[in-house]
């Protein structure tokens, strides 16, 4: 299976950052903020964040902020909570939290909480437990979690709990590993994991590991490197990660590398992208793969960055 070709992945991520005109970059245009977070976090986990021009990135991030306090996915794009979290995470990576007008961002997020405790993604009202996680994570990073109704937010998430112990987008929605990460993450950040049926959910999650060693996101689906993050971080937060085979999963992720040009794909021999490169590297970090910085399963940021956020004078 070989090793993690760190240098090539670093090169690949940097090349994607620079490319602006090929088809893939154009298609990804609307979520460039997410792309920045994926790429930069992967670089940091590999210990190579210093190759990036901090000022260039940071001023671009700030130029995506709107008067409402929310951030867009790119310059001139509408604000959305999805990109607001990525923007805050990128600033946290670079220790540039002082650039954030925390009250402004807080106002934006507080305004998106609904009466039932749920969160809308933006002013147009789409509701999803992904947005609950994002709101809670973002406010927690800027030390403003007390500004929303946490009790109601938790109650709403619990109302999305299913017979398999997992969680869906809205009440009644099917469990899905990505959604489970969001709900378990939100419950972790609010100290509410006692409301999760850890044995039941843990069994569902550990059964995501298929013969090849990879993880799928729902029963009877194909494995995919991105679930190395969604499933794994959830299993870690509920302390059930020993229920899967670490060695097999490491092998699967390493098999998805493009060893020549760098980057990681969803499955072996598929085309690589930044999204899967980040989730592959982050998954390996969660698996304590040597040479990578540890990542926090709930904040989805390197542990040293989280420590800096909470334990700094």
């Amino acid at each position: 299976m070989g090793e993690l070709v760190t240098d090539k992945h670093v090169k690949y991520i940097l090349s994607v950052e620079k490319r602006k005109d090929d088809f893939e970059s154009v298609v990804m245009e609307h979520l460039r903020m997410n792309g920045a977070y994926w790429g930069l976090t992967a670089l940091d986990l590999m210990g190579k964040l210093d190759v990036v021009d901090v000022n260039e990135v940071v001023s671009w991030v700030m130029s995506c902020q709107h008067d409402s306090g929310g951030f867009g996915g790119n310059v001139g794009h509408d604000p959305h909570i999805l990109y607001t979290l990525s923007a805050v995470q990128v600033l946290a990576l670079f220790d540039k939290m002082d650039l954030i007008d925390a009250d402004k961002v807080t106002n934006y997020i507080v305004g998106l909480q609904n009466e039932d405790g749920s969160f809308s993604g933006d002013m147009w009202g789409e509701v999803d437990t992904r947005f609950s996680y994002i709101a809670i994570c973002c406010l927690s990073i800027i030390h403003r979690l007390d500004k929303i109704n946490v009790e109601k937010a938790v109650k709403y998430i619990i109302s999305c709990k299913n017979m398999d112990g997992g969680f869906g987008c809205t009440p009644g929605g099917e469990s899905h590993a990505g959604q489970i990460f969001c709900c378990v993450g939100a419950l972790a950040l609010t100290g509410s994991l006692d409301l999760v049926n850890k044995d039941l959910l843990g069994w569902w999650l550990c059964e995501r590991q298929v013969k090849s060693g990879g993880l799928n996101g729902r029963p009877e689906k194909l494995p995919d490197v991105c679930y190395s993050w969604w499933v794994l971080s959830s299993l870690i937060m509920i302390d059930r990660v020993h229920w899967i085979s670490r060695e097999k999963l490491i092998k699967f992720i390493l098999d998805c590398q493009d060893k020549e040009k760098g980057g990681i794909s969803d499955r072996p021999d598929d085309a690589v992208d930044v999204f899967h490169t980040y989730f592959g590297v982050a998954g390996l970090s969660l698996l304590e793969y040597p040479g990578l910085k540890p990542i926090d399963p709930a904040y989805a940021l390197p542990v040293d960055v989280v420590n800096r956020i909470f334990f700094k004078k």
Partner: protein, 700 residues
């Protein structure tokens, strides 16, 4: 990007792609210019629709359409024809976008948004969905949208349930359909809809339905979770219930103040009490509850003047806990020595104790015990002890038999007087027995993991049914064997089965006084403070997980060494614990010791030879209270000064600081953990001023 092959592009493809990129780029910039200038001309909207067809995940592009629609609607003067044509056009654009990308959140939401504007053609929505769901029966967006439409048109749950049956009938391998069925059926059962009450009427048919799936292809997971859910529906009791307590119902407790009784002094609780001067009263429920307080729990005793204060034993500072404790303060009691006082605890007579899923404590119950205090409480005298506590085999002796009066409780004892004993109905038990037979048949034909696992779970369930109390645990050997088989059959999930195996083993050990006897020891030549204890030695049992703690509330000395424990979750309930040996396990972080923070009596702790300090990822961090989960205030500034004063890194030591500063240990063994270097030892000495022995070394 998913499922795209990695092949290098041919030259002509590269050219075609870059032409495509250029076209898309131009659509994007035109659209953004229109958006920023609020231009909603026909041409602008067409360009936008083209962009969305190519890239339906562009939020901003959908937002633009919503703004356009709002502006058109306000110009329409509510003319129904105009409104309809505006909204029809939107539905058409969404449909085209969805044909390109089925999984676009933005497209599906735009459709919902259009419907919320008063579009009435809902039948059309169901037809469209049928087509989409046929093409991709697992698409969760489509299923979500289906639930939305069904709710909007107030379609009866019964009809939707029928739809899931059709889908499952066409192909049972559809987890989405089974999921939706569980949602619909839960609703119907909960509101006791006609034909859905009592639940037994329904469950039998459901079991049959899911057998078709599991028995046809046992490796297909589609029916697995639904089946487990059905078992749970069959046997579970929703209402919170007391499962055990300390002191146990019917016990006589004699307190000796701070002197211990020599010789045959096993009938007393001693030593722990002088440490704190308090007697814990523990209530252990079948699930987490809130609302345990002096108005929901009535404690009657001559001994008491005021009310007891009940606290949840929660490692993450929640108000919801399975175990609650109140401390009877012996120091402040005015008692007649040697008199026997009756303490009666009753609960469930008034409302207020509620489970986290909202069920009220259902069955008024009473716990009665007797308490006799023989010696008045005096402040403990500091004793210089000659040597540290030893856990060596040679120092322990097994009991030949246990006297009736010894305060040891096990699962076979009556936990409380219950006014109306809750039972599952006979038909539910029959259903479980029938399932057991079905799965035995399956296993006689084919050796499959889900068959074995389900059989193990069913046998466990039948062993736990209230009515089978008398012949409890008859199936244990078979269950243990099944988990052994599973560890071999499915090595990927080895530790899942091992954890289950450990739980069953502990249930067996704690099931009766007879089964406990081989594990009960007393200490030969014990130093005075620990004489007369029953030491429960569960060492070397290959346990990977703790369990059955509700049967171990009486334990004061516990040896869990030489197992494979990764966590000690639940140990916080053992409020009498004063000596604990966890050496030679797999505890991987300080946060794994979180439950110990709630053990006020703990004096002697051995955590040597674990894995603390060898893991970069902490799996217990979000399960215990911490500033990271907003469940603990932490004065970081002060800690940083303290850390600086003893020359340690604040970022590395805050977690051990949180754990150890709340303990009152006199002895600690921590050697054999990667973290335990000289630096760390000097940190411990500072944080634990009560410590007399560290790694068997006398600190005085």
């Amino acid at each position: 990007m998913h499922g795209r092959p990695r092949n290098a592009l041919k030259e002509e493809d590269t050219a075609a792609l870059s032409a495509k990129a250029e076209k898309l780029r131009s659509l994007q910039s035109h659209f953004l210019a229109n958006h920023h200038n609020r231009i909603y001309t026909k041409e602008a909207l067409e360009g936008n629709a083209k962009l969305l067809e190519n890239n339906p995940e562009w939020h901003t592009a959908w937002n633009y359409r919503k703004l356009a629609v709002e502006s058109f609607l306000s110009d329409s003067h509510s003319d129904p024809e105009t409104v309809k044509s505006i909204l029809d056009e939107e539905l058409r654009v969404v449909e085209n976008a969805l044909r390109k990308n089925f999984k676009s959140y933005g497209a599906w939401y735009h459709r919902k948004w259009v419907l919320s504007k008063g579009h009435s053609s809902i039948d059309k929505e169901l037809r469209l969905l049928d087509a989409f769901q046929k093409a991709d029966p697992r698409n969760f967006h489509a299923w979500n949208y289906r639930r939305f439409v069904a709710a909007l048109m107030k379609r009866p749950d019964e009809d939707e349930l029928k739809y899931t049956e059709e889908v499952i009938g066409a192909n049972f391998s559809n987890y989405s359909a089974w999921h939706n069925r569980s949602i619909l059926l839960s609703n119907l059962l909960k509101r006791k809809a006609e034909g859905y009450f009592p639940k037994e009427n329904v469950l039998e048919g459901e079991f049959e339905l899911v057998h078709n799936a599991i028995f046809t292809d046992p490796d297909d997971q589609s029916g697995w979770f639904y089946h487990l859910w059905l078992i749970d529906q069959t046997v579970k009791i929703d209402a919170p219930l007391l499962v055990s307590s300390w002191p146990s119902h019917g016990f006589n407790i004699t307190l000796q103040g701070n002197k211990c009784l020599h010789g045959s002094g096993l009938s007393v609780i001693n030593s722990t009490l002088p440490n704190t001067g308090t007697l814990p009263i523990i209530l252990y429920f079948n699930q987490a509850v809130e609302g345990v307080n002096s108005s929901t729990v009535n404690v009657k005793s001559e001994l008491l003047s005021g009310n007891l204060v009940w606290k949840p034993l929660s490692t993450n500072n929640s108000n919801n806990a399975q175990v609650w404790v109140a401390y009877l303060d012996i120091r402040n009691l005015e008692v007649q020595l040697s008199k026997t006082y009756v303490v009666e605890i009753s609960l469930g007579h008034s409302k207020g104790i509620v489970s986290s899923s909202g069920y009220d404590y259902g069955h008024p119950s009473r716990v009665t015990f007797e308490l006799c205090i023989q010696t008045a409480y005096t402040e403990p005298v500091e004793q210089q002890e000659g040597k540290s506590n030893s856990w060596k085999d040679d120092d322990f002796q097994k009991f030949d038999h246990l006297q009736e009066s010894e305060p040891i409780c096990s699962a076979d004892q009556v936990t409380s007087e219950i006014d109306h004993i809750p039972t599952t109905s006979g038909r539910c038990e029959e259903a479980v027995v029938n399932e057991i037979n079905q799965f035995r048949d399956l296993l006689s034909e084919i050796d499959c993991k889900i068959g074995k696992l389900t059989l193990a779970r069913l046998l466990t369930a039948v062993d736990s049914l209230p009515s089978s109390r008398a012949n409890n645990m008859v199936n244990t050997e078979e269950i243990l064997q099944l988990y052994d088989d599973l560890m071999r059959l499915d090595p990927t999930h080895y530790l899942y089965y091992k954890d289950e195996h450990s739980l069953v083993l502990l249930r067996q050990i704690t099931s009766s006084r007879d089964s406990l006897l081989p594990y009960c020891h007393y200490k030969k030549n014990a130093i005075e403070a620990f004489a007369g204890y029953v030491c429960l030695r569960l060492q070397n049992l290959s346990l990977s997980r703790m369990g059955s703690i509700e049967n171990l509330l009486w334990v004061q000395t516990l040896d869990l060494s030489h197992n494979q424990l990764r966590s000690i979750e639940g140990l916080e309930a053992m409020q009498l614990l004063s000596c604990l040996n966890l050496s030679h396990n797999k505890l991987g972080s300080f946060t794994a010791l979180g439950p110990l923070r709630l053990l006020k009596s703990l004096k002697v702790l051995n955590i040597s030879y674990n894995e603390i300090g060898s893991h970069s990822i902490d799996t217990r961090r979000y399960l215990c209270s911490s500033p990271l989960s907003h469940t603990e205030e932490f004065a970081w500034d002060q800690f940083e000064i303290f850390a600086g004063s003893i020359g340690i890194s604040a970022a590395t030591f805050w977690e051990p600081f949180l754990i150890f500063q709340s303990l009152n240990l006199t002895e600690l063994d921590i050697k054999g953990n990667p973290v335990a270097d000289e630096n760390f030892r000097s940190f411990l000495v500072k944080v634990l001023p009560t410590l007399k022995w560290l790694d068997e070394e006398d600190l005085s």
